[in-house]
Amino acid sequence: MKKNAQPSRKDERLLIKQLIAGESQAFDFIVSEYNNIMLSVARAIVGEAFADEVVQDAWISAIKALPKFEGRSSLKTWLLHIVSNGAKSRVRRENRQESLDDGWESVSADKFDQSGHRYDDVYVWDNATPESLLANDQLQTIIEQSFQNLPAIQRAVLSMYELEGIKMDEVCNILDITSSNARVLLHRARTTLHHSIEKYQDN
């Protein structure tokens, strides 16, 4: 699957030099590029109420630590670890492992017979490309709303893995969840978005 392109190490080294030199364009770039995904991680770990504060603190820690940044990971991954550590310290005493035992079903159980076969027919969608699906404004809004309604941790896993191209083991480290847990959360997020498109296509 095609993932979001990562900036090269060379570009990042230049960016970091510009940041240390205090160039305003470099600050504009990192804030516009990374604030949203940092917020996503903070919300997934600490919840809505403290997320903004955790992200602000993470930015301040990151800027202070920037001269010591060794480039062992990408700048984005480094920032996400800083926000993750800040968020985790806010919920240190809370046992936050996501419970997956909530009766969630990828496809409603009444769609299968006793032997696990589908009752209903599933058809290939006519508009096969993302562009043709997204040409419909109403459907675009439905997908956006469906994304916003996902639990914060599902949005974070989906955003990091699917949109930011962060490897699954790194996603697990950042969110402090197991690989199987992360895979289930990713499947749930994808499936919910699939349902929203499917429902629209059926109407």
């Binding site: 600050f27 949203n36 800027i63 496809v107 032997s115 696990g116 993302p130 997908i143 949005r155």
Partner: protein
């Protein structure tokens, strides 16, 4: 033998290549004779491609200009 329900549960892992060999073969065997599950997996694949094109984002009320300026000021002090 894999059934439709197994496909519904494992479709993401199947698309990401995260399934052990024997289980993967069983799911592929099911897909060979079940057009509904083939369509379902195809739809999920299209959903993933659509999300990567649409790139939905967190709701974010941050004043990014102000934050950028604040960080720039901070960096001058260090």
């Amino acid at each position: 033998m894999a059934e439709c329900k197994n496909i519904a549960e494992e479709a993401s892992n199947l698309l990401d290549g995260e399934i052990p060999f024997r289980k993967r073969m069983a799911l592929h065997l099911h897909l060979l004779y079940c057009s509904c599950c083939r369509a379902y997996v195809q739809q999920l694949k299209q959903t993933i491609s659509t999300i990567t094109v649409l790139r939905p984002q967190e709701k974010d009320a941050t004043d990014t200009d102000a934050l950028s300026k604040k960080l720039q000021e901070l960096s001058k002090k260090h």
